[in-house]
């Protein structure tokens, strides 16, 4: 078991015991292959994450044709170009931030999120405070991330109620003219692809 910061002389807590008991019951009944559990964990803990999405955004910033295509059907083209496909990424559409529009994504009903490009969602995305607040008060919600959106900019909130998944393409930061996709990728954060922050600025964040 990986070290998780707990003193190993502590007795395990109730949840640890409950999940261990369930896992051993399912293994004993022959309903679960433990090697398959490891595949699932390895995939989402180490292989799939927001680095995937950052590659998609960087390409969209340098390639207007690619940007146009991913706003219609992102899933097909990112499978072709990057091999990103699978669960919770079957039907992705990109939504582009512009000088007039800022997009932010939520799932008010559960935790729907584009796994193939962003990995598993952070705790705050799955929790009641963000899910309840951002649809009614997006500026207030974004302020909790230190993000201020100009009053004259329209904030569009995308509530992921179906199996469609939305990926925000943040605005390309100023001062990055001539940058390569590899250089640009470093400016793209997970939070900027959910829409709660802007992309990093080369002047202030790098």
């Amino acid at each position: 078991m990986p070290h998780d910061g707990h003193d190993h002389t502590d007795p395990p807590d109730d949840l640890t015991l409950r999940v261990k008991a369930l896992e051993s019951l399912l293994v004993e009944k022959g309903l679960v292959d433990t090697a398959a559990l490891d595949v699932v964990i390895e995939t989402y803990e180490h292989k799939i994450g927001p680095k995937n999405g950052a590659k998609v955004v960087a390409r969209a910033w340098v390639n207007p044709k690619f940007m146009a295509v991913i706003k219609e059907d992102c899933s097909t083209v990112i499978d072709q170009e990057f091999g990103y496909k699978g669960r919770q990424g079957e039907h992705i559409m990109a939504v582009e931030n512009t000088p007039d529009v800022h997009n932010v994504v939520v799932c008010t009903l559960c935790s729907c999120y584009p796994w193939t490009v962003l990995g598993l969602p952070p705790v705050w995305y799955k929790s009641a405070p963000f899910r309840s607040k951002v649809v009614q008060d997006p500026r207030g919600a974004l302020a909790e991330f230190g993000t201020t959106i100009a009053d004259d900019k329209e904030i569009r909130v995308w509530d992921s109620t179906s199996e469609m998944r939305y990926l925000v393409i943040p605005e390309r930061p100023a001062g990055t003219e001539g940058w390569s996709e590899d250089q640009l990728r470093a400016l793209v954060t997970r939070n900027s692809m959910i829409g709660v922050e802007e992309a990093k600025s080369p002047e202030t964040d790098l």
């Binding site: 409950r18 369930l22 090697a35 803990e45 496909k85 008010t108 405070p129």
Partner: protein
Amino acid sequence: MNGPHDLGGQHGLGPINPEPEAQEPVFHEDWERRTFALTLTCGMLGQWNIDEGRYARERQHPVDYLSNTYYENWLAGLETLLVEKGLVTAEELLTGVAEGKAEGYRVPDVDATRKILASGGPTRIQSDLKPSFSVGDKVRVINQNPLTHTRAPRYTRNHTGTIEFGHGVHVFADANAHGRHEGVHLYAVRFEADELWGEEAAGGPVYVDLWEPHLEPV
């Protein structure tokens, strides 16, 4: 159902309190990691679909749903489905002792698991079904209060929006959660902030994906 999961527009739930992105691990506790993996692998046994999975979590008592952490809700949902679908008995769950091997299930091995993760579960259906609505049409969300699963959030009910675009025919989640696999047209509907929240609304438009049975013409 008008459950505790339907959170859009609720107040008093506290600060968002985001953990800094660079410091947040994928899992915070080992039991979360195991619960996540058990939920996915048990789902691959094919005994329930994603909407039944969601419905199992949101059927919990509202006090439990809201006081649980995220993966506690997953764990509760998984236990519910395992018993309801007859994969384990309530007694086995309580004692942790298997009464016997489960027979007749195809348990994915490592290769099958990789394939299932990579293929996902597309919900778009090729269909000749004609859409009832076009881009730009005004629609109203029906006023419904089903005891069953619905993906039409409460804050949209009886409110008027505009069809922003059609997504084609998709599996209808509200029926799928109860074992009925039906394809209907799905749309992104734009609701203006003042329509949803009143004249004092400070926000912007909200886009919600809704299926044709949720909508009526205006």
